[in-house]
């Protein structure tokens, strides 16, 4: 069966009936993204593969945990990936060092074309646009705000831990995170507004 054109939530519905083909389609669509996020957090290719496998098998076992009313599939999947990666990182005792942070926004291009580009051109356009928008939103943030957000999201550090690591007061770190996320929100909303009007 050809799953091209199926929405993510339609594929997820099929997972409830243990449709292995639909599962394979979701894997093809998002495995590179999931793997890339895991790799970014755990900084080890073998561990990142294990996390990727674990995330997809969780999706396979418990598709009902995804609730379309609470957000898009891809963001839910990436949240699961991030949380699982942080858990693994903590359990293996690794700590994210500042100098070990690979670049995120505007500093490095994809090393491969995304799987979604190979899978479904229409979906690829939407996803690529979205990815580009997030990168641009992050690019415009002051470096210190971007760093605080990255240490929290990819490093799994609390605000207090970030403050300790950067040698900054806790209040400063809180402000950086709050302002950075506000700017991101505004940038993404402006972009969505432009999309609606175009």
């Amino acid at each position: 069966m050809d799953y091209t054109g199926f929405r993510d939530d339609e594929l997820m519905d099929r997972l409830a009936g243990k449709d292995l083909g639909a599962f394979g389609a979701l894997y093809d669509r998002y495995s590179d993204l999931v793997y890339s996020v895991a790799l970014r957090v755990v900084a080890d290719t073998h561990v990142a593969e294990d996390v990727t496998q674990d995330v997809f098998l969780r999706v396979w076992r418990r598709p009902e945990q995804f609730d379309l009313k609470r957000g898009k599939f891809v963001t839910w999947l990436l949240s699961v990936t991030r949380n699982r990666s942080i858990d693994v990182r903590r359990s293996t005792g690794r700590r994210l060092r500042r100098e070990a942070l690979p670049p995120v926004a505007g500093e490095e291009e994809d090393v491969i074309p995304s799987t979604d580009e190979r899978d479904d051109p229409a979906l690829a356009t939407v996803l690529a646009d979205e990815r580009r928008a997030v990168r641009k939103a992050l690019e415009v943030l002051p470096q210190e705000q971007k760093l605080a957000i990255q240490l929290a999201y990819f490093g799994g550090l609390t605000q207090q831990e970030i403050a300790n690591q950067l040698g900054q007061p806790l209040g400063t770190v809180k402000t950086r995170i709050r302002l950075g996320m506000q700017k991101m929100r505004v940038a993404l909303e402006e972009r969505r507004g432009r999309d609606r009007n175009s």
Partner: protein, 280 residues
Amino acid sequence: MQMDCDGVAENIDAWALGALDVEEAAALDTHVAGCAACRLLADAASERAASIAMAVPLVSASHQLKARVMAAASVMSDLPARRAANASRWWFAGAAAAVAFGIGALTWGGYLQTQVSDLRDREARVRTDATAQSNQFATMRTELVQASAKNVSLGSDQDAVLDIVSRPDLQRLPMSGTNAAPAASGRYIWSRTGGLGALVTSNLPALPEGKTYCMWIVYENAWTRGGAFDVDQTGAGRLIVRDLASGQDHGAFRGFAVTIEPSTATTQHTGATVLESGLQ
């Protein structure tokens, strides 16, 4: 610690990034659970935070990974409602073994202590014998603990399957029906280094009363028992195999076999082979 709507608004982005400490996060969670407006805020913040992950430069996962994931999903779909029963059965078996061992160890330990105490008053030669016996007991105890831990630590069939498919030496083998069961077939995924495997069968004949199917790992000098299983009306059966003899020297590895054996526990294969792989 409590948090009101203003507190949620102030902390929601840090919460979505996972950057609040445990106490703050718990307070925010509690408030959001009972406040519809803040729940909307939380969902939006979560989505915004998750979108950060989309900015990561894409790196390709290996093709082998897809094969692993699909194989694991395929096996998991063959392990439906029986999973919980199997998991609890393994847990129970492990726990029972541990309890039995504990009782045995206490009894045996007490017996030894009495023996050694008596012997100490007699001759040095007998004391030496008692020490040797004690050492033997210690070795036996270690082996039993290892075997018990091997059973208990795996937790559930799903965890075992995850464990198997995570192994770098994962192999997927077809199993063929013999003349005794020509319509039968099976699949076996296993990791030799991990001493772990998952067997799925179909079209096995119904079992006579008092009989069960047994899975064997066949070495040149021994057949080691992988476990017993029953089949449903269609001949479908499933088994997580833990090769406790893995790593022991039984000669060259030859393959796998499924035989029909008495339901009473047996460590020797006696019945007809109905499925096999690699034994030709």
